[in-house]
Subunit: 204 residues, 3 copies
């Protein structure tokens, strides 16, 4: 079940990467790379930080084909995508939540302490988009957008909390998934944002 | 002793990260992330490059809380920080020197060759700030600022040289710490800089 | 044989890094760092992703000296380099091809699946330049330039294909090297490019 959602999620992330590459007028190779790192970069960084080798996608080459195909296909369907904006944002939100839960599970299995488990979930959920934005030479939107990273944090915290209370894992996963998705969609719908910190002094 | 200095140092680095995030008007989540990577990113990259798992902070969750708290607190006290500019720069210099010495020790324990030990010290001292600047979409200041990286290099070289001469480790650490701190403060005071290389031709 | 080409290649890459640093008016330390990451960063990222520890250059400190020397020397000879543009581009192409073949071999020895072997070659060939451009705060040229990454892909694919057909490794290496070099030089000569994807809508 989470595997199917995961595959939908990496396709959605690959498409968001391809669109970002298109905004920088990259060639199709650049599109493929950005699609790849957006979809699989978060998990790669998580595995590298946790020392979790071999890195996930190296054992599932089919994911490589999937995200690169999705990225290249996006260059063809891009003109029509904005009609599908809502579906696209929903898929992206599913990805965020699914990635977060998967990231938590990887760190849990490696017996890392709780705060690291939460960070593992957030790294998996968020870092793909961060690397995408760095490669496209812009400040990562995730540091400025409506509730995005916070959704990941809430999902990870809830999942661990309910797990500690003894809730059965599949039920827990499903509940956290629905809660995270709902929170993210509400945040988009109502433009919920975290407070911003602006600092203008240059004294360094 | 080095642990206390280390904790002061990561707080100072987290604060410098939070200010950089504020200059990009990030939300509080972005502030927390930038504070985290500035303070602990150098050590993380060092551990990932050296294959030194588990990465340091994953075994010390208290550091995670410490740097994120320091980052968020900075958003509240920021308007008053420029009055404390000198203290802040001194703390930052302490961080640079302490990180460098810690980085050397990690690579020494892993029996890496001498040049790698020096690079390990420099990576630990400098990479946090490099990642901060990359995420804030600017050319890393460490590549252009008054003697900063060079202080790290001098400290690492001195530490290894005196160690090879048989100087006792605690004494050696203390001496290198004071020397590095003095050098950095003098560099700030007198604006010492490395020569710059400017190249204007675009023939590629 | 591949070792000599490799050393020529890392020198060429270090020089291209130094010139990029000069375009950002970095100090000599920044030049040394950018030279280092451009020359050795691709292999470092490959080793970190594949879990191939210790990372290559940590066991060959002579490479550290070589690339840093090449970078610093570049600051002296830079005014004359554009006369050598063709030689320089040829050395850079040799680097691309040699790095790609070396990257394939590392992943092959670790028994990774074929698509990962190809990605290992491409990561080794390309990522140094990507990190260089990220640290110099620009969109990586490799995502927009004439056939560059594609040469890496062709070389890796050809090397694996001929290897699967039973071609002897040294012959295979030599043939792929010449083919890749020729392809790259033709691409530069005739300005071959991949199609570009431009996307202007900002609906996210």
């Amino acid at each position: 079940m989470l595997t199917i959602i995961y595959m939908i999620a990496i396709v959605a992330e690959a498409m968001s990467g391809a669109l970002a590459a298109g905004r920088r007028s990259m060639d199709v190779f650049g599109v493929a790379v950005i699609a790849f790192v957006t979809a699989l970069g978060g998990g790669t960084i998580r595995d590298m930080v946790l020392g979790h080798f071999p890195v996930g996608w190296t054992q599932h080459p089919e994911y490589i084909y999937l995200v690169i195909s999705a990225g290249l296909l996006t260059t063809l369907v891009a003109p029509y995508l904005h009609h599908l904006k809502r579906i696209f944002l929903a898929l992206d939100a599913m990805g965020l939540v699914a990635f977060s839960l998967i990231g938590c599970n990887v760190a849990l299995e490696m017996k890392y302490p709780i705060p690291v488990v939460i960070m593992s979930g957030m790294i998996t959920g968020i870092c793909g988009g961060v690397v995408r934005d760095v490669l496209c030479n812009q400040v990562p939107v995730v540091f400025r957008r409506e509730l995005y990273a916070v959704v990941s944090l809430v999902v990870c915290g809830l999942f661990l909390g309910l797990g500690a209370l003894g809730v059965q894992t599949n039920l827990n996963t499903a509940f956290c998934f629905v809660t995270g998705l709902t929170l993210r969609m509400l945040a988009i719908r109502y433009g919920w944002k975290l407070p911003t910190f602006s600092y203008r002094q240059h004294w360094e």
